[in-house]
């Protein structure tokens, strides 16, 4: 028996560790460092219909136990990802979760319809929560009704299960999660970054060219844990939790809060080997807390 095995809609995960979208590119950089087949799955960088150049620099600013970023969804566009990045990833025994982004509902639908047909794309992650683009993105994730409509529209065309990535920058995240579930989502991924700002002490102006950026890293973990805890009590579809995961203990926290798997984001920038390290640590952590398998931990904070 594989103690780390997790079964989710569309995804048979040999372990719950999934590099989070935007923190792992399309895998190429990390494939030089370790075998990507060791990962539970990979959430590839957000893909849009057309090529996106992204935002001007500076795009990142360090903060206490975290960082702000405003990359702006830079990506080579759907056609390129279908022809190059996804076929290249087929050499690894790892399911791909394709992060889908756009500015109009029709963009999301077009990308979802096509990218869900790729051999190794086993699920979609609808990015309705990117705080760093002028149009689309977060607009779809802060209004429950619109989030539900988009979910239904994408579900209607997708060949694979659809997970919706929620924004923490809302008054009531449970309401949005429920609406997304009612509209047919197969799962939730949460949380995206928290909107923040850092000023340059000399000029008094924001450091990041975009002004605001998305806060990530260990600093956001308590917010993410609280939100996973609240949402998991109210919905019955699974959650992939993320926000500040850097080690096996964090994984155990997210599962205990109610997540079924975890995304690892910013930690990949600090230690590019962090994902295989966490996977290796997990069995020992399970022993320490006296559990035989990871699935027994899911949602134990509620019980």
């Amino acid at each position: 028996m594989n103690r780390l095995q997790i079964e989710l809609p569309g995804l048979s995960l040999k372990n719950p560790i999934i590099p989070a979208s935007g923190c792992f590119g399309f895998g190429q950089e990390f494939a030089n460092l370790y075998d990507l087949s060791t990962l539970g799955a990979i959430m590839i960088k957000a893909t849009t219909l057309e090529t996106r150049r992204g935002n001007p620099t500076p795009r990142v600013a360090e903060t206490s136990s975290g960082m702000l970023n405003a990359i702006g969804l830079q990506n080579p566009g759907l056609e390129h990802v279908m022809e190059h990045e996804l076929p290249w990833l087929e050499q690894f025994d790892v399911p791909i979760i394709a992060n889908v982004a756009g500015t109009e509902m029709t963009d999301y639908v077009a990308v979802a319809e096509r990218i869900s047909t790729a051999n190794n794309v086993k699920a979609l992650e609808l990015n309705i929560s990117c705080p760093n683009v002028k149009c689309g993105g977060i607009q779809f994730g802060t209004d429950a009704k619109i989030a539900g409509e988009l979910t239904a529209a994408v579900k209607a065309v997708s060949e694979v299960p659809v997970y919706v990535k929620l924004s923490p920058n809302v008054t009531n995240i449970v309401e949005i999660a429920k609406e997304v579930e009612a509209s047919g989502a197969d799962g939730i991924t949460m949380i995206n970054t928290l909107v923040g700002m850092r000023l340059n002490p000399s000029t008094g102006k924001p450091i990041i060219a975009n002004g605001t950026g998305g806060l990530s890293g260990p600093a956001v973990k308590p917010v993410a844990i609280r939100m996973v805890y609240e949402v998991s009590k109210e919905i019955s579809i699974p959650i992939i939790g993320m926000g500040g995961v850097t080690n096996a203990e964090d994984v155990i926290d997210f599962l205990s809060a109610g997540a079924s798997a975890v995304g690892v984001g910013t930690a990949n920038f600090v230690d590019p080997f962090v994902c295989p390290k966490i996977i290796e640590e997990l069995p020992q952590k399970l022993d320490e807390i006296g559990y035989s398998k990871l699935t027994d931990l899911i949602g134990r904070s509620h019980r």
């Binding site: 923190c23 590119g25 990390f30 500076p58 136990s65 260990p218 600093a219 590019p272």
Partner: protein, 258 residues
């Protein structure tokens, strides 16, 4: 190949105002190929600060598995690094990026090396390697003031060296380009590392020469995954953006929009 290693501090000393010379020992030195590559250093075991600090490699001693890094203790992270003592271990990721192409200069030719401030260090290993293959090197090194000057003797031992300070407190006064206009050195290829305005001025000073420029930008991961340190390209290149960390930090002149 990129590796992560806890490297041991062998020497660590201040050599100019806020400038430190750090000598590290470890197997990672075997992986260092080209002058101009850099390492990404975690200055603390905690999440404070969270990100690594990119530092260029100043010299490589593969026989003794030692490398020398020169850095400016400017911000919080590098100030913490400056507290490391001989015997301490430092978490290093590297070597990263592509360095200066040595094959752009041939034996018997002359290379002009132009450094500004903390852009000077990678030129030292470059000068040594070029000398080894029979290339004559001329060094023009610019600093703010007399207290900021470092490695003058080391560069002099390798060839003709000019020091420039912005305030004129040491060497000639002005910018490196002022000295270049005045001295008009004869050379075949130029290599430069320093602040972007300096790189721009050099490109404009030598519109017809082959040259290579090393850039600096705020970095996240250092390996090309986070898309933080992109730079805009000129029309001569098909991509709109290149990543300073993994496509660079050294680019041929004319590639990056300045």
């Amino acid at each position: 190949m990129i590796q992560q290693e806890k490297m041991k501090v062998i020497h660590h000393r201040s050599i100019a105002t806020n400038i430190y010379e750090l000598v590290l020992h470890g197997q990672l030195v075997n992986e260092m190929k080209n002058p101009g590559q850099f390492v990404h250093i975690r200055v603390s075991d905690s999440y404070e600060p969270l990100l690594r600090r990119p530092i260029s490699i100043c010299s490589i001693d593969q026989e003794n598995l030692e490398c020398t890094l020169l850095y400016r203790a400017g911000g919080r992270g590098t100030q913490l690094l400056s507290l490391k003592q001989p015997g301490d271990m430092v978490d290093v990721l590297g070597p990263l990026g592509n360095g200066f192409p040595l094959d752009a200069s041939n034996s018997g030719e002359t290379a002009l090396l132009i450094g500004g401030g903390i852009g000077v260090p990678p030129l030292y290993e470059l000068a040594s390697r070029l000398q080894q293959k029979g290339v004559r090197t001329i060094h023009v090194l610019g600093f703010q003031s007399i207290g900021d000057v470092f490695y003058e003797e080391q560069f002099k031992a390798l060839g003709e060296t000019h020091i420039v300070t912005a305030d004129g407190s040491y060497g000639s006064k002005g910018f490196v380009t002022d000295l270049l206009m005045q001295e008009k050195p004869e050379f075949d290829v130029f290599y430069s590392c320093g602040p972007t305005p300096m790189l721009k001025a050099i490109e404009q000073t030598y519109p017809d020469k082959l040259g290579f420029l090393s850039f600096e930008e705020r970095m996240g991961c250092g390996i090309g995954a986070c898309y933080a340190c992109v730079c805009e390209t000129t029309d001569a290149v098909s991509q709109d953006y290149l990543k300073v960390c993994s496509d660079g930090p050294v680019f041929k002149r004319g590639v990056v929009a300045l």
